[in-house]
């Protein structure tokens, strides 16, 4: 089995990091674990130096997640790449199972899997995401919504030579952007079983997904300015394009209204208002559609 590089980016979370690193070593037989310390100001450096067998990269100026992941790519030597957040864990053996499938299908660029959602205290919930795992050409589906948990992905290094690196200005949706660019050129595989634990954010946790309104407006901008201009989209019929936008904006709307309710439940009226305004900005049509189809529930 070829070498797989697990790139763990971390910023000021030394307690959680150790758990993530330990899980990375158990995930596969031939792995290289890279910890990119994104300018942490606490004792992360000390703790990393104590860990044996890892490649430790210290970034002096904070890069945010995507920039740090790119630097992890720069020092990695594995043929396969996977990202892991410092507060998530990989399940034992999961990497080997995924890499085996990916090796068996040389055309596929990427394999993803399911994630078990954890609550803030790290306790697993019964929820698994995504419930269905489409395979093959998932480009159009992926344009509509990001159903790929970042930590569940293993992709070929050679993909990057054709589509470029992560866009480090897209904090929060850099992974989605990369999956879309890969899916445009490669078929995808999925392993329909949990491969990672994913700590759910709450409106109070200040984690990535709790800034829903900001991320949605960034996604909309990215959709209009970049994704919509990918050759596969521009070469298609206007109907198909309209359809892609509709699905995208509906999902964004669903996600936002879910976030509105959630922040209200967590007594965060300011955040709820922000999300509500972002929802209104998506367009009045989205609002109407939402009232019709009331299944507002989707983590981004």
């Amino acid at each position: 089995m070829e070498l797989t590089s697990i790139i763990i980016t971390t910023h000021n979370r030394p307690q959680l990091l150790e758990r993530a690193v330990a899980s990375a070593f158990l995930a596969g037989t031939n792995v290289e674990v890279i910890v990119v310390d994104d300018a942490s100001t606490d004792d992360t450096a000390k703790i990393c130096r104590r860990m044996s067998g890892i490649k430790y990269v210290r970034v002096d100026r904070n890069q945010q997640v995507a920039g740090a992941r790119n630097l992890g790519l720069l020092v990695s030597i594995g043929e396969y790449i996977t990202f892991l957040d410092d507060d998530d864990v990989r399940l034992p053996g999961s990497l080997d199972r995924q890499v085996k499938l990916l090796e068996a299908d040389p055309k596929a660029g990427l394999i993803y899997g399911q994630a078990v959602l954890d609550d803030q205290s790290g306790q697993p919930t019964p929820e698994i995401y995504p419930q269905v795992c489409p395979q093959g050409d998932v480009f159009w589906k992926l344009l509509g919504r990001n159903f790929i948990p970042c930590g569940s992905v293993v992709f070929r290094r050679s993909c990057l030579d054709r589509v470029g690196l992560l866009d480090h200005c897209l904090a929060g949706l850099d992974d989605w952007d990369l999956w879309i660019r890969i899916a445009e050129l490669y078929p995808m595989l999925a392993l329909a079983e949990p491969v990672t634990h994913w700590r759910k954010s709450t409106p109070a946790s200040q984690q990535g997904t709790s800034r829903a309104a900001a991320i949605v407006s960034k996604s909309v901008r990215q959709f209009r300015q970049v994704w919509q201009k990918l050759p596969r989209v521009t070469n298609t019929s206007p109907e198909m394009k309209r359809h892609a936008w509709q699905r995208f904006s509906q999902n964004m709307g669903a996600h936002l209204s879910y976030e509105v309710l959630r922040s209200l439940r967590h007594r965060q009226p300011a955040q709820a208002t922000k999300n509500l305004f972002a929802l209104l900005r998506l367009g009045p049509l989205v609002f109407v559609q939402l009232l019709r189809a009331n299944d507002a529930h989707s983590p981004l």
Binding site: L74, V75, G164
Partner: protein, 323 residues
């Protein structure tokens, strides 16, 4: 001899590319040449297949110069990185010269040499763009656009990228300045007087450089405010920061007006108007101050080169970036 990787991003310039590649090959003994084809739609791929001994990377989707350079850095296997544009040239032996210097001073972030300027047909114009002879901390000069350095003239330690991050794709045309400023904030810089490369000046009559210069300088001036977030700038007092800003804006405005004036005899009116507009937008008061007008009136050639306003020169902007 330490190994060095030279990264040549290219986009639809198959005529010039082989020449750049050959110059890179002659520039050092142990050179890894990486050509990153940024989704060219022409015969670039075929041309590259005929070049031997290069690592050819084909991007299917246009990433812009910075994005292509990043992919090249990712594919490189040496500790030292050099960049070369597809229409510029490296001088023979120059990579070895610079790499040796950089290897001898492990704390330096990058080394920069001088550039010879050439016209569109690679005829040297006699102009030399050299970094001032001041190795060490050049952060402030770089930040104030007062330090002529371009990717063509530098060799960068790969380790420096790990400290400050990769190139920013969204800074069209100024990604190299941005990264060098960030590196100079943390590391001393080596400079040398020997020329290391030939920079092909953008053609005055092609659209290439005409509006590009003013737009790039305006972008650089705007982006400087972002760079003010760097810890060393933040440590300054407010008035010191304001002084840096004032000097930069003045220098940029002067340069724009100066170049506009210089191009007027060539009837480059669009270029001139663009420059004047940008200068006025940057600093209306400064742009019309009597001493500068007087200097302009005295004529460009009457003024000694050292007194000519100048800022960090930008490489010819490409028109391809898909942002």
């Amino acid at each position: 001899m330490p190994a060095v990787s030279i990264i040549i991003p290219t986009h639809s310039r198959p005529q010039q590319l082989p020449r750049a590649v050959e110059s890179a090959r002659a520039a050092g003994v142990n050179v890894e040449i990486i050509v990153v084809d940024d989704a060219s739609q022409d015969e670039t791929a075929a041309v590259c297949r005929e070049l031997s001994g290069i690592k050819y990377i084909r991007l299917e989707r246009n990433q812009g110069v910075a994005g292509a350079r990043n992919v090249g850095i990712l594919a490189s296997s040496s500790e030292f990185i050099a960049f070369l544009d597809d229409d510029d040239l490296r001088l023979p032996g120059s990579l070895d010269l610079q790499t040796n210097k950089l290897a001898a001073m492990p704390e330096a972030g990058f080394v920069c040499g001088a550039m010879l300027l050439a016209d569109q047909d690679y005829n040297l114009t006699g102009e030399v763009s050299a970094a001032p002879q001041a190795s060490g901390d050049v952060f402030w000069q770089l930040l104030e656009l007062d330090f002529p350095v371009m990717p063509l003239s530098t060799v960068i330690r790969k380790q420096s990228f790990l400290a400050v991050g990769l190139l920013n794709r969204h800074l069209r045309g100024i990604d190299d300045w941005d990264i060098l400023v960030r590196m100079a904030e943390l590391f001393p810089v080596l400079t040398m007087a020997e020329p290391v490369g030939i920079y092909r000046k953008p053609a005055p009559y092609s659209g290439q450089g005409s509006s590009a210069q003013s737009a790039q300088l305006a972008r650089a001036t705007r982006h400087q405010l972002q760079l003010f977030g760097l810890p060393r700038v933040q440590a300054l007092s407010k008035s010191q920061r304001r002084a840096i800003r004032r000097r930069t804006v003045n220098r940029v405005a002067d340069t724009l007006l100066w170049n506009a004036w210089q191009r007027l005899p060539e009837k480059e009116f669009r270029f001139a108007v663009n420059n004047i507009k940008t200068a006025l937008r940057l600093n209306p008061l400064r742009a019309v101050r009597p001493s500068l007008l007087q200097k302009l009136a005295n004529g460009y050639r009457a003024v000694a080169p050292a007194e000519r306003p100048n800022v960090y020169r930008q490489s010819a902007e490409r028109t391809d970036s898909a942002l």
